[in-house]
Symmetry: none
Subunit: 216 residues, 2 copies
DNA sequence: TATAAAATAATCCAAATGCGTAATTGCGGG
DNA sequence: CCCGCAATTACGCATTTGGATTATTTTATA
């Protein structure tokens, strides 16, 4: 089985030790090095002759916290996968971590088998290991996006065609060519759109359509 | 251990059978009933004397698909947890399912132990069971949500003032009056904005500014 | 304080736009 | 079959806008 190169980052030696013990049974794991905070990690990473596949990263650390460290490291070495391992499960920290580029988010009391599973998730399935509580937050986050029940879109399919082209910044002539109709027709459609939306310009029509979610 | 009341929904009897076999070893599981599509499920749910705790729901079914079924059932019985079990892992279906109110999303070839784990995730941790591939999509979705503060906003403060007014749909004269400057100045600012953004129209400037998150 | 950058202002021209009016075509429901 | 409706095509006119150019004043900053 292929070797899996790991790095552990935590400011408390105790936590590192716990993790090492949990990882010990997994024979293919090779811990390249450990670090005690974000700055320490970045320093060691820059002089490392071999890059880790996965980094287990604590969040709350002195000098530089794990989220900043991931943000910086990920931009330089995007192929490294980061798994946050921390006691924080408040929404703010979780989403900051995810958006910084983390590939997974486990809570600190995960069992050894879950840690092993997390590694397999990443290495084999290209997955994103999460504790169930974190997964729930992720789902709720997604469910809360785009909940705005859009009020009735009053435009015809053809008018939407015009509007979409319009939003691309095209002018009437270009739109006409794209849709195989006369520029006059495009202009007439526009006046119809204006009438329906109670607006009087292209910018107003497009911004309204974007705000209502009719076009991306 | 407390009894866990399940319902299975799939149009292919074969899949139901597979699931039942995977669930059989878990003694506390009690399968209330099964259904062969969304409409069938809703009918049976409405006459059921006991509500299920968890519903395993296929997505692609005749009559009514699983996403619609969840959307309707969840609004009437929000305490029921739905886990989608399907072969689809395309983004569109996944996010539709999540936003319809699903609590989990597993791909069809999950092992028996993963199914059991999914049930425990929901019942014990209030979690959201996901296949690794789905978890990855969820992470990517969240990572894409917040504006990439990537490219520097190249416009001056004054140019942003003009751009904001522009996005309201105002014309140059109106903007000039609002900002107490000459219409000529507004137009000069506009050409500067166009030069900086490499665009050639009001619509393009405004849509770019919106997409980059410079204006809401 | 020198000097660069931004903001202000103006003019000319050609192109694009908004607005009103009107005629034609195609298609589905009464 | 005719009606109504949406889509389409068309023209004219006044206004707005985009592009190029020049110039003065204000602000920032090295």
């Amino acid at each position: 089985m292929e070797e899996i190169k790991l790095v552990l980052v935590d400011d408390k030696a105790y936590n590192i030790q716990i993790l090492e013990e949990k990882l010990a049974p997994k024979s293919e794991v090779n811990i390249l090095f450990t670090a005690c905070n974000g700055a320490d990690f970045l320093n060691k990473l820059n002089v490392a002759e071999v890059l880790p596949s996965i980094v287990f990263m604590d969040i709350d650390m002195p000098e530089m916290n794990g989220i900043e460290a991931v943000l910086i490291a990920k931009s330089k070495f995007p192929e490294i996968q980061f798994v946050m391992i921390t006691i924080f499960d408040d929404d703010e920290k979780v989403f900051q971590a995810i958006q910084s580029g983390a590939s997974g988010y486990l809570l600190k009391d995960e069992s050894a088998s879950n840690i092993h599973r997390a590694i397999d998730d990443i290495m084999q399935y290209g997955g994103a290991p999460m504790s169930p509580q974190i997964a729930r937050k992720a789902f709720q986050f997604i469910q809360n996006q785009v909940p705005k029940k859009q009020d009735e879109m009053p435009l015809s399919a053809r008018e939407m065609d015009i509007l979409r082209e319009l939003a691309e910044g095209k002018n009437y002539i270009t739109i006409a060519e794209k849709l195989f109709i006369s520029p006059h027709t495009v202009r007439k459609h526009m006046t119809n759109i204006y009438d329906k939306l109670y607006v009087h310009s292209k910018v107003e029509a497009v911004t309204m359509a974007m705000n209502k979610g009719w076009i991306n």
